[in-house]
Symmetry: C2
Subunit: 426 residues, 2 copies
């Protein structure tokens, strides 16, 4: 199948490339001989710019950074969303990324008291409460425990897509779904440290506390802490980034993001939840009748089409690649369906790359676009059989008072000119 624009571009591009050879550049490298182009070609100059002169050598950047032509690929915030940037959030540019791993420099940020700049040699992690032996560990101590593990897990803020409950339509998947990232973590099971301290038989809950100025605290069931929580010091192969909890953070696979306490300084063992501020006045789902859902820890199956999307419109008719991400806090993604007509007809997407439990999963649909208007949706199904609901199905059950746990199906309207917008359909 030949992309139509490709064919059109071939001729122009080929002249350019031939001219490039004629200019002696390809000749130098390969001995290729080609006649100079019939007419001057703009490509000749632009190619010469980077092929005629020496570029920067090694060590120009001992720690590398993206190309000057990728400056638009950044985290972005919404200034009206919060009163201050020290207690605020920004968003991962999902529409600019591919595969399943989020680059560390682009993982969305959520702070409640700004980024703690911790000197790792002076940081301590305390285990106290209902334990036989309260303990305090240095970061170096943690790295000496047996059973070190590596896992890729998604972290999603409970408020991700929260502005969509009442139909606010932020124009871009970065803003509607960008409070999620997916990272490789290196660390040890929290169970290893709890076993070290000796958890008392009447223990039922854990309190995780951060060392930042907000002293973020969340209550976590002991059962989850013993099952798969990790104490980690590394993300994507290198040390945690400051905004992600350097030097130590808690990983709570599949559960809402603010339980993954950053700058982790203390785990207290108790027999009941603490009902801290960030699990009562915040991170609680207020229902239509004024009651609240208590402790909605798990992030249910969800998906979003990242391309096309409002920040990444369609530019060409003919062959195109639709791409997106799916994830579930209950395990692996088993299938992703995509609709181009607002949910009337569905096709299964092609899932590529590793399908890991509680990790972002990448899907593609290779399709031809003839310029017709489209209503693009995606629907995730996880290995428990759970099917991602529509927003209306969610609203029927949960009302529109909450800002948390909106995993409803998102709709992108693609216009005939390729521009794409965030819309609500019945």
């Amino acid at each position: 199948m030949t992309p139509r624009e490709t064919t059109r571009l071939d001729r122009r591009g080929f002249l350019g490339a031939a001219g490039l050879a004629g200019a002696g550049l390809a000749a130098t490298a390969t001995g290729l001989r080609a006649a100079p182009p019939a007419a001057p070609d703009p490509l000749i100059t632009t190619v010469q710019d980077w092929a005629r002169t020496l570029g920067d050598g090694v060590q120009a950047r001992p720690y590398g950074s993206p190309s000057q032509y990728e400056k638009h690929v950044v985290r972005r915030d919404v200034e009206w969303l919060t009163a201050s940037r020290e207690s605020s959030v920004n968003f991962t540019p999902l529409h600019e990324l591919d595969g399943i791993i989020t680059p560390s420099g682009l993982c969305f940020e959520r702070h409640h008291g700004g980024i703690a700049e911790i000197e790792p040699g002076k940081h301590r992690l305390m285990i106290n409460g209902l334990v036989d032996k309260p303990m305090v560990f240095t970061v170096e101590d943690l790295k000496r425990f047996p059973g070190r593990q590596n896992h890729a897990y998604f972290l999603e803020c409970a408020a991700n897509s929260g502005m969509e409950w009442r139909g606010a339509q932020l124009n871009g998947c970065q803003f509607t779904h960008g409070m999620v990232h997916n990272v490789w973590y290196t660390g040890i099971p929290l169970k290893t440290l709890l076993d070290e301290a000796g958890v008392r038989t009447n223990a039922k809950w854990l309190l995780a506390e951060g060392a930042d100025s907000s002293g973020m605290t969340r209550s976590i069931p002991l059962e989850k802490g013993l099952k798969d929580c990790l104490v980690v010091w590394s993300m994507n192969g290198e040390a945690l980034r400051p905004e992600q909890g350097y030097p130590v953070r808690l990983v709570v696979p599949g559960w809402e993001g603010n339980m993954w306490v950053k700058w982790l300084r203390r785990i207290e063992v108790g027999d009941q939840p603490w009902h801290q501020r960030e699990e009562t006045s915040k991170y609680t789902d207020l229902l239509a009748d004024g009651r609240s859902r208590r402790f909605t820890f798990v992030m249910d199956a969800k998906s979003v089409v990242t391309n096309p999307s409002p920040q990444a419109p369609l530019k060409h008719k003919g062959p195109n690649v639709l791409s997106g991400l799916a994830w579930s806090g209950r395990g692996r993604i088993s299938r992703v369906d995509v609709s181009l007509d607002g949910g009337r007809n569905w096709r299964s997407a092609r899932i590529d790359g590793p399908v890991l439990p509680m990790s972002l999963t990448r899907f593609y649909v290779d399709f031809d676009w003839n310029g017709q208007e489209m209503m693009i949706q995606s629907r995730a199904i996880d290995e428990t059989g759970y099917v991602q609901p529509t927003k209306d199905e969610l609203r029927k059950v949960r009302g529109v008072n909450s800002i948390y746990h909106n995993n409803g199906i998102q709709t992108w309207l693609v216009h005939a000119n390729g521009e794409t917008e965030n819309v609500e359909i019945g």
Copy 2:
């Protein structure tokens, strides 16, 4: 099992943490009440620095960077190694990393004419030679082809560990083994583009050409190009880095690094190899009798212990974690053996994380160190049954004239004080 230092640190650390609570910080956050410390504790001040004041808010760094305390984690070069930095190499800090993925900013660099700073909108990829229809593609064209794929592959320079042939002993795995990295790539099979252009029946070889000022060119058997080579534009989820070939590079899984042509501008199809400079005067293995091994494409199974190593000595007796990396250009790693006594006794290492074909694989050995001198070695076995050889076994066959394809077993001598050095043993 209790790390001995941990127990010692507990008391001191616990006082510090209690003092921290007494200082009212933990109290603010958790309601925890604790008596002020009996004596002033150094931790109080240092903790207060980051817990008492607001840190940077979101968007302080739209594209994030590592902590100020991680400035030592960088690529490093060896100035005497090459005449200029535009045609030189630097090294991945393997001893500072964990897991299997190399952060993009720390992937070693190898340039032959410096870093081409290519404007992606003006870049073209030409397919010419023995094809029915020569074609030129823009980067946007490439992203519209069906069948986009994601794979993690190691890239190793053929000269990695080359200075070890004659027993030069650079003091650190960054320098002895750091010309390797492991990255997630997103792109399309090269076969897709060759099929588009229509490869003639007499075609047998491909020439890959780069758009940098060195016009790097390598001959690649057509069979390999059709089997698993990729044309990629993304690494670790984001655009390729300039020093890694932005905007387009060739991926040649399991084969020597300089065939993975960066800044890829042309694929020529031919009926025989071109014998370019970088595959004759360079990247050819000179044997003891003066003859050369022709086209040694595959990188054989290899491994290295990254911790402990000369740049990462042992600091504590008692529990420690030995860690390292193994890889094979012929497929998956099936086992890694580790010796602590210079190869007399071996134990199988614990492999953690995904074991992917032609990808770095992470291994660990949890061990207790009583302070005795150790001769640490690792030995990789791949799924074909190939066993990583000793350096002497390699020298018997290949002599010491070559600088390429040294996959011999590395030895680290750990002294009683924990300092570690690169040594040769019989």
